[in-house]
Amino acid sequence: MSIINYASREIQFKIVYYGPALCGKTTNLSYIHQRINPANRGDLVSLATAADRTLFFDFLPLNAVVIKGFVTKFQLYTVPGQVIYNATRQLVLRSADGIVFVGDSQWEKMEENVESFKNLEENLAKQNVALDEVPCVLQYNKRDLSNIAPVHYMEYVLNNRKKRLQGFEVISSTGQNVFAALNAVSQILLHKFSKQNEVPSTVAPPVAIPVEPTPSQGAQV
């Protein structure tokens, strides 16, 4: 659920990078962090272990454009992919406005991809949210490796559902299509947001002002 701050005229969106362990979620964020203008981004907080595995999550705040007078801010998160960290994943996933599911294209990771995708659906369901309701795109990552499954099989495995998601062949280590995927999920997100919320362009919402009680009223109280 996006956070709208009428006072500071800000809208905050939360995008979560989800996927199995070591599929490249943190690499995605690192690349985005490198490419974004430092004036428009915060610092990438990465709680990683010595083995470069995400411990809690990565967090990258981005200040962005103005939409109807509101400054949009994006917060990008990753989740720890390891199976045992499901509670952390549920926590990070809470109130997510958009999801980028990062699949690992290697043959031996197909099962983990499927499990992770199921886990995503289950964790959303626990928050009474269906995946179809959340803007989501698929990344088929590590396309530069040699032992990879063809995209149509990954589509069959991950995207054979009623609502077809956009898919991107990605090499997150070089940044190929990283922004394309982020751009796509942001487009869906902003489009959905603009449809749901008619943001007032100029008129500020009414503000409740406490009325000082007259002396007589005060006496009654």
Partner: protein, 466 residues
Amino acid sequence: MTPPSDALKPKLLLVPGVTAAETAEKKAPVSAVPAGAKISLGLRPVMQNMPSFQLHRTAESVAPEARIELPLALVESQLSSGRIAIPVRLFQEALPTDYKELLVVDAVESPVLLPLQEVLKNLSPGLLKMRDDQVSEEVAEGFETPFSIKAAEDAKRFSERAADAETPVASAAPAVEAAKTPEVKPPEAAKAPEIKAPEVAKASEVKLPEAPKAPEAKQPELTKVPELKPLEVAKVTETKQPEQAVQAKQIEIAKAPEAKEPQVAKAPEVKQPELPKLEFKLPIAPKPETAVELAAPKIEPKPEARIEPALKLKVETPNELTAKTVAVPTKPAPEQKSDVNTNAKAAVEQANALPGVAASVVIFEDGLNLAGKLSDDVQAGGLCAMAPTILQRINRHTVGTKYGPLVSMTLSWNDAQLSFFMTGTVCLAALHSEPVLPAETHRQLAAKTAELSRIYTQPGEKHVDH
């Protein structure tokens, strides 16, 4: 009378947006496989995929032309799970007579996992059929996002590289193709997946309005956690160079015909993976800390300075530190960044480069090792895990004293000394290379720990916006 436990209750999840009909449909998928149909697989690749405990001999003893036929329905039903397992008895039955003794059926009858690539190679393309009733995501074409320009820039950059790489590498192309996994043609019924590449042409037209600098845009909480490894900084600078070069060529690219662009459905750069790799990995500069460490003269610990008691506990507080006389470090101190541009790994590297420090490790208060490692000979892992708790206990008693909060604790043995620095929930353990840490090193380690403590979120604070 107690209510039944939750474990006995049925676990039902109500997923909004999923109707009962749809759920029922999922449970009973319509199989397109005729009864009795078989799939023929190469036996050798199947055997090569099996663990050694399931084989009497190596898979190389299987003739290359040997094949095995398995029920297609069984395979097809598992295709979507990314894992195809065949009951071992069934597999044994299906094995050609010459190879039946090759298989070992273990006590638990572990199923045989089939290699997906071999299955897909021999699978009828029509079986990977996508749902007919799929609806595509409503895409807001032309809807500006903060990432549109970057996406367009990247698309241009990578497509240009792919185009450039195509001509000179033409002779090597067949080898690259051969090295790839056999490409299985997508099923005809299921159209090629719509992998959308970002539109390149938009980049020149689109201009995003600049965000006004609101006073809130500073995000004070972010100052707590700035982080970039030195390695990453190097990467950033390197990646920007080719990018600028690409931007300089943009006018020419825009005029050029788009004939070179590969398939629309696929991202154009997929077939040229090695180029981007080179760009990012080659120019990594040596870390300055490493250079300093190598150049530094080795300091031998003085035997007479050792403390005789088997274990001596020494607790230091900030006031005590400032009162100490400063020993002149013989080793040049590593370059300290004024900002908080470091993380646990970098902190460990910098700490290790300090004079008097042999090795260091960063630990969370719960004993979890975050970065760094002490020598295996020391076997101080358990001690390091326990140290934060001890420090916190001692600190509880020192807070009330005139010395203020605890900064460090040093444990001394006959042959080694280990200092622990702790701030908040982060603890830095430093193994001495000399009996007493130089005061400057001590000060820097304390500062480094405080810095790490600011970087890593405290457990009491909120991690996520709710």
